[in-house]
Symmetry: C2
Subunit: 374 residues, 2 copies
């Protein structure tokens, strides 16, 4: 199929200043430091790292994470797993429930090609998963998801044993527990995050006791995110961290009050934009919420004292009280409120080395799983 974007993509070696706008630009120096810091943390604490690829959706970044020590990546959707497997990632965990038999057949086909794992939280889901795997003659690691405070997917911890027995009865392998508290990641104070993860830890312990009572071994508890992973790593129950945002860091995470023992991650993800219209008291840039997600608030303007106002799908409006407004044609870099859905809006990532303004383009990569929602 044709690709509308090829004509406007920069080439490695191009000046960063020539990147067409709006563009998803990654500061590779900052990203490398973030990836190394998280890998070092996991090594030092003796926990596995399986970063969540729902964030970056690209084999390019996943391979860097795996090269730094990650055991593989998580994804959230069947089509995301397919896209990353096609792009060369061979150890994938769908940390989410799949109930549709046609999708489960696709997952079984994938499991014949790469190492696959999946989460379950219902007997119907387990029945259908088992049927699909049996039909394909494929094997998969199964994590029983428990609700540790998010109130979304997952069974009550006291039902973990019952579900795990159902997995075993089908001849499938119980790989452990999926225990992720998404809502805890963006709680602003360390005290509130600790309270949430203390609650989650108690829930995991309940589930572990329940599994033990059912005679089921639990090889691994997997979960955690960029806002709380230090707590999960210190809990004594989680053996694998699923953090995603740390590699790029978004504006919303920067709003969390940090704890002292967390690696200092840096903003590495930007949307480069350009002023296309200029009034006396405002400038209009070519990036609106088709270029950056606004579910976690509006973007911040990088390195300038400018106020970003929502200008709709295609525009951003900049005002200032104590800075000069950028001129027509001038570049402006935005720090998106939320990495994951922002990246999902773009076809390619552009990696620069040596700074956003004066650096060079080093890599251009496809967002392999962009739009893979099914």
């Amino acid at each position: 199929m044709s690709d509308t974007f090829h004509s406007t993509l920069p080439l490695p070696g191009d000046l960063a200043s020539t990147i067409d706008t709006p563009a998803l630009v990654v500061d590779l120096d900052a990203m490398d430091r973030n990836i190394a810091a998280m890998a070092a943390f996991a090594r030092q604490r003796g926990v596995r790292l399986r970063p969540h690829a729902k964030m970056h959706k690209s084999a390019f970044v996943a391979k860097l994470q795996i090269a730094a020590g990650a055991v593989g990546v998580c994804v959230q959707k069947t089509s995301e797993a397919e896209a990353l497997a096609d792009a060369g990632i061979d150890d994938l965990y769908i940390s989410n429930e799949v109930i549709d038999p046609a999708k489960l057949a696709r997952i079984a086909a994938l499991a014949k090609r790469v190492k696959m794992a999946i989460a379950v939280d219902s007997t119907l889901g387990i029945d259908r998963l088992a049927a699909a795997m049996r039909s394909a003659g494929a094997a998969i690691d199964v994590f029983v998801e428990i609700d540790v405070g998010q109130g979304r997917c997952g069974v009550e911890p006291a039902r973990a044993g019952e579900l795990a027995r159902h997995v075993v009865a089908h001849g499938l392998h119980v790989a452990g527990l999926q225990a992720y508290h998404g809502g805890a990641q963006h709680l602003r104070t360390p005290a509130r995050r600790r309270e949430a993860i203390d609650h989650a830890t108690a829930a995991v312990r309940t589930a572990l006791a329940n599994l033990a009572a059912a005679g089921i071994e639990c090889p691994l508890v997997t979960g955690a995110g960029t806002g709380t992973f230090v707590l999960e790593a210190a809990s004594g129950v989680w053996g694998e961290l699923q953090c995603g945002s740390y590699a790029f860091l978004d504006r919303d995470y920067a709003d969390n009050e940090p704890t002292s023992d967390v690696p200092a991650f840096e903003h590495a993800l930007f949307v480069k934009s350009q002023v296309v219209s200029r009034g006396d008291t405002h400038a209009v840039i070519d990036a609106g919420h088709k270029s950056h997600a606004i579910d976690s608030g509006l973007p911040k303007v990088w390195g300038r004292n400018l106020i970003f106002e929502n200008g709709g799908d295609e525009h951003g409006i900049l005002r200032t009280r104590c800075d000069t407004l950028p001129e027509l044609g001038e570049s402006v870099w935005l720090v998106p409120g939320h990495c994951d859905p922002t990246i999902n809006l773009h076809a390619y990532g552009v990696g620069v080395r040596g700074g956003l303004v004066d650096g060079l383009v080093e890599a251009v990569w496809r967002i392999d799983a962009r739009g893979c929602v099914s």
Copy 2:
């Protein structure tokens, strides 16, 4: 390039009930009625219709609109124009400012292939546009954009003549005025919408007088959207309507109090989703804000008395007070808050005929300009 989506796309003739989720599903019966109603309105009022393709981003829908009488379509971005030209649309108006010389060179190249128009609101933009067109030996229609109350792009109405003279001085053709009040579209009461468009009409009249004083003819005033087009059509100054959302209609437009003289547009755009996890008091579906935009609020659940709660990027959470919760695996159709950025999240549209539940898939089309933000 590979296309991750092909394996999961339905074929024409498939049962609507078998469409993989989440999917962007269009009720073709409703869409056809919407397109016909707007075309009839424009014919009856003697105004041209140039629907905004930033909404649907697909040649499939644009061709239906043109077949019903539209003169062409508007787009908002250079890459959007390229994608639709590549897909067979030959009359395109970029109703927005472009300031980057490389983009203007691409527009000039496009103008050699198809009929092109563009908006301007600065002398720098006009200078660069003229240079690009001269260099390519191409012609383009130029609309001077005036700010009619939105406070975004466009010059003050009293500066229209000055800019138009600058266009003429470069040997370019002044095609008229771009006068769009985006902020007026979603004002809830008819009185507030009328007030906004009365203000916009006065601004257009000021600009027309200013053009006349400068000795510049104004062949056309173009603008209007789905929330206010009846007012612009009745104003006596607008000659072309740019409505986009009418073809699909989103939840937000349904929240406007209607006026009696507006065609009764129907919801035609849905995100089909599926329950993947089920608690005692909530159901979790596989559609979050990577499947539907939430800039204009959360989606509504179609045909059911269910409350949609934000479940994050990949999930929606359903609760109910007076309906039964859907079961695991059950399909749920959402009406997105805002068409435009929702469609931009999807690679394909799936058109069904004969109802969302019992109908058949009639067409599958590419969202040609998905992600074309540059």
